[in-house]
């Protein structure tokens, strides 16, 4: 049994009533005994899980989240539902996951999935053996316009930053801003920024400004240390703007680009609490991707 499966099973055991626990145990045993390859009862059980397991968040506590990170660095089940966890246990119960037959079985399941199933399946991909085999499939999730699906594929998982090629990775980052997903929750973002991604982000900044629209605060995350002169100018303009979340993000962005002087100057005249907090944090060296969390969803 994989460590991830054991952990999820433990989390569920503590949360499920006897009847749901029994259903899951029976279903997992049935899955374990299936012949390799697509179809059979597997997709039906993945569907039926929605009727057998309770609604609601998994809500792992800090200790449990720590255990998850220990099983797989970058995996964070904080936003998982109980149903996601149950379905992941079913997927991880398959005996053929290491083989081509297992890949085909999952692909078949993806192609027949509903919205909730897509979310659960995408969340499970990083827990599979040799998850880079599912890079294309995860990329499909990141191409989705359904935000729940995008997030399940892109966020709280180490798979994209490890397995995506440069093109798919950069599309994922920019797309997060388009669908309004939390870019700060894309694992490994800070470790995989580059000048090309910064250029794409700055082109988008120009496009937004030309259209008279605000720049989403998290878009500045994509610059990192690759802002360059163009990025610095765009950030300073945002820092001088009349929108506090924009000033907050620009301060963090400038600090990420190693330009603290304009942030210091801005702090001296700032009175918005959100922007002040971000500026102080930026000056104190706390400007990694997680520092953008309070700015998510502000537009």
């Amino acid at each position: 049994m994989s460590a991830a499966r054991a952990l999820l099973q433990g989390l569920l055991d503590a949360r499920l009533a006897a009847r749901a626990r029994g259903w899951l145990a029976d279903a997992a045993a049935e899955v374990a005994g299936l012949a390799p390859g697509p179809a059979g009862r597997f997709p039906t059980l993945i569907s039926l899980a929605s009727r057998a397991l309770p609604r609601g968040p998994l809500a792992p506590n800090a200790d449990e989240r720590g255990q998850a990170a220990a099983v797989l660095a970058g995996w964070n089940p904080e936003r998982w539902s109980i149903l996601d966890a149950g379905r992941a246990v079913l997927v991880l119960s398959r005996a053929d996951l290491a083989s081509e037959a297992g890949v085909a079985a999952l692909e078949d399941c993806f192609r027949h999935a509903d919205l909730g199933e897509l979310v659960s399946l995408y969340r499970t991909l990083c827990l599979l053996p040799e998850p880079q085999r599912f890079a294309w499939r995860a990329g499909e999730g990141c191409r989705s316009s359904m935000r729940a699906v995008y997030e399940a594929a892109a966020c709280d998982s180490p798979l994209p930053s490890r397995a995506f090629d440069d093109g798919a990775w950069r599309q994922l980052v920019i797309k997060a801003v388009f669908v309004g997903a939390p870019l700060w929750r894309v694992h490994g973002l800070d470790q995989r920024l580059d000048p090309e991604l910064a250029r794409m982000a700055l082109d988008l900044v120009d496009e937004r400004r030309a259209a008279g629209r605000r720049v989403q605060p998290e878009l500045w995350l994509a610059l990192g240390s690759h802002a360059g002169e163009r990025g610095a100018a765009a950030l300073e303009r945002e820092l001088a703007g009349d929108w506090a979340p924009g000033r907050a993000a620009a301060a963090l962005g400038l600090a990420r680009a190693g330009r603290l002087d304009p942030v210091r100057a801005a702090l001296a005249r700032e009175d918005d609490p959100l922007a002040r907090a971000a500026m102080e944090s930026a000056l104190a060296g706390a400007h990694d991707q997680f520092s953008f969390a309070p700015l998510h969803g502000l537009e």
Partner: protein, 298 residues
């Protein structure tokens, strides 16, 4: 007022429609699988179609504060392409038990052929085994005979009448359906067949018991606001508001909530559009222009 339109093909409708529906008070809809105007030539087209009913269309409707449910089935027209039909009938069970699937449907007769009957019976059996509601499409030609036959066959297969909804009724067929103990749905067509005015008189004559009003709006000339418009006309013409509520909201809810797939409490609570709204309490559905905490006028 709030409305439940239990038969509408959103695949063919635009976001303008969704916006207008939400504004008019449509809070919940059911999108039954039907034919898409042009015959499909391969089973894969059905896979993608069914998948859109349980995924994309649900997502789209949610953007406008409308709860989207669906019915899955092989329609009667395409049942006549028997090679294709055999493949599609294998696919139906893969989608029929997913979340938010409230019925097997729309199934039944079009030309009342043996091939249609075989597909109908197979799907009735599936519904009986899994205690599902059945949404029956009645034929436009030879309707009275078609409806009688759909009821008789459903009864022979063993589908309980309280789980049978016969759609596209008119003055000539309603009595048969009500006497059988099934639900009688009426599609309000803007120019032909059943109009709102006729519906008012049917409700006046038969009372609200087991009568359901729907739009069946699709890719043809049809009106996604048929249900609220008919409700308005009923009120104007002196139908008891409680009857209006039953025929445009409660009866559809009662019929399809038998599936266990409708969270009645959540649906009955005053909805608010939050395009960041939770999906299964974790992930979020949202479009490009989030509207948060906007009251839905229904």
């Amino acid at each position: 007022m709030r409305f439940f339109d239990p038969h509408i093909h959103m695949t063919s409708r635009t976001t303008d429609d969704l916006e207008a529906m939400a504004r008019a008070g449509v809070r919940a809809i059911i999108e039954p699988a039907f034919w898409v105007g042009q015959p499909r030539t391969q089973a894969g087209s059905f896979v993608d179609y069914f998948a859109s009913l349980v995924g994309w269309e649900r997502f789209r409707a949610a953007q406008f504060g409308i709860a989207h449910y669906c019915a899955i089935g092989l329609n009667s027209k395409e049942a006549n392409d028997e090679r294709l039909a055999a493949e599609v009938l294998e696919i139906v069970p893969r989608f029929a038990f997913k979340e938010g699937v409230v019925a097997i449907g729309e199934i039944g007769y079009d030309e009342i052929t043996p091939a249609e009957e075989r597909a109908y019976v197979r799907q009735l059996e599936l519904a009986r085994e899994h205690e599902m509601v059945v949404m029956v499409h009645s034929p436009h030609r030879d309707k009275k005979r078609g409806i009688r036959r759909s009821i008789d066959v459903a009864r022979e297969v063993g589908v309980p009448m309280q789980r049978l909804v016969i759609d596209h009724n008119n003055e000539e067929t309603v009595q048969d359906v009500l006497e059988a103990g099934a639900w009688a749905a009426f599609t309000i067509y803007p120019h032909t067949k059943m109009g709102s005015e006729r519906m008012v008189e049917i409700v006046r004559r038969h009372g609200p018991e087991r009568l359901i009003v729907d739009s069946s709006a699709d890719w043809g000339v049809s009106d996604p606001l048929s249900v609220p418009k008919t409700a308005q006309l009923m009120l104007e013409r002196g139908i008891d508001p409680a009857w209006v509520e039953r025929t445009t909201w409660q009866n559809a809810l009662d019929a399809y909530a038998q599936s266990g797939q409708i969270d009645v409490e959540a649906l009955t609570a005053a909805p608010r559009v939050d395009q960041r709204a939770l999906y299964h309490d974790n992930s979020v559905l949202r479009g490009q222009a989030p509207r948060v905490d906007a009251a839905v006028p229904n």
